[in-house]
């Protein structure tokens, strides 16, 4: 069994917690619940990741074998804020329908995050890239309907700004395509997204959603100044998902600390760490 404690060696962060749509989150990692081999493995990964916010999908209840296990039997709703997604929707209207069903499920549970939705309006089954027009349209409709919209989008800074302008509770640019494990492909676009979205509003939450492959991707996104990272496949499809969940937890904290610490400037040439004075030799 694993006995990893990634928190012991990390000093306490002098850091304000992440607040999204009025909900305060202790962890900056949002973890998906899909693709795990078993519910037990999922539960163990979520526990080890340190997350307190997990995404879920809305799907038809099985008409046969309905007595089977439900994911909610394995998710402690008192521990995890549930963020229902609209995955698989390719139009604004479909996404609004699915969002309303997710809200009804959460309201029925008495969930504090019942008005939350992770909005996905996809444009293409091969890339799963967001449809920017449909995403804007659905964001507007859902905000008008009282939702806190956490919106999956591309790393396009102009669309990101438009989504915030429509009232999205969080803009969540993709690092790279969903489930691709390619990490952050365009750091400069993410930098511009962060600059635009946080201009005069530094607490506005920006969460990098999708594309993470391994721990360094999480650390890198956090070092850029993202408020959080949302990931799923990178843990679920790791060779050892539980160990990777621990790695993601540590990476998220490391990246956040590095961002707050402020990195040194990059230089083209070397600067010696040891003093020139007192050398017994001369450079040749």
């Amino acid at each position: 069994m694993h006995s990893v404690d990634t928190t012991a060696a990390i000093p306490a962060l002098d850091d304000a917690p992440l607040v999204v749509g009025g909900i305060t989150l202790a962890s900056r990692l949002v973890v998906g619940t899909g693709k795990y081999a078993t519910y037990a493995e999922m539960a163990r990964c979520l526990d080890v990741s340190g997350t307190d916010c997990v995404t879920v999908a809305v799907r038809r209840e099985r008409l046969i074998n309905a007595a089977g296990e439900n994911i909610l039997d394995h998710l402690d709703a008192a521990r995890y804020s549930l963020l229902p997604n609209t995955a698989g929707c390719y139009s604004a209207d479909d996404a609004v329908r699915v969002a309303r069903l997710g809200r009804e499920l959460l309201r029925d549970m008495g969930s504090a995050t019942s008005e939350w939705v992770k909005l996905e309006v996809l444009g293409d089954t091969k890339t799963l890239l967001p449809d920017p027009v449909g995403t804007l349209e659905a964001t507007e409709k859902l905000v008008a309907d009282g939702f806190s919209v956490l919106v999956y989008t591309s790393d396009d800074p102009v669309i990101a700004k438009r989504l915030k302008g429509l009232g999205a509770a969080s803009v969540m640019p993709a690092g790279s395509p969903i489930g691709s494990g390619q990490g952050v492909l365009n750091a400069n676009n993410l930098r511009i997204c962060l600059e635009y979205l946080k201009d005069g509003d530094p607490a506005y939450p920006v969460i990098v959603d999708a594309g993470v492959g391994t721990a360094s991707d999480v650390a890198f996104a956090m070092e850029l100044g993202a408020d959080g990272v949302l990931l799923n496949t990178a843990i679920a499809h790791a060779q050892d998902p539980v160990r990777m969940a621990a790695a993601m937890r540590a990476a998220c904290q490391a990246g956040r600390l590095a961002f707050l610490a402020g990195r040194m400037p990059r230089r083209l040439y070397a600067t010696a760490s040891s003093p020139d004075d007192g050398r017994i030799v001369r450079p040749t």
Partner: protein
């Protein structure tokens, strides 16, 4: 039964999660949920595109032709 409802069909036909299903005339959405064994389960119900809150299920009588979706949460990212 009184004779004035003899013209009503004994059954109504609805579509549940894409599957055709016949129900006794006068059945409510809650009757359907119970017949399917979903009572007490975490589900949300939509009829013809509109969510029907749990508290309203018993009062919603099915007249036939409705497209009903019954959903729950599953794992997802």
């Amino acid at each position: 039964m009184s004779s004035d409802i003899t013209s009503s069909p004994a059954e109504v036909a609805v579509t549940v999660n894409g599957v055709a299903r016949a129900l006794a005339a006068g059945s409510s959405l809650r009757d359907l949920i119970e017949a399917l064994g979903f009572a007490g389960r975490p589900i949300a119900v939509e009829v013809d595109g509109d969510v029907v809150p749990r508290a309203a299920l018993a009062n919603r009588t099915l007249v036939g032709g409705e497209r009903i979706e019954i959903v729950t949460f599953v794992g997802g990212g």
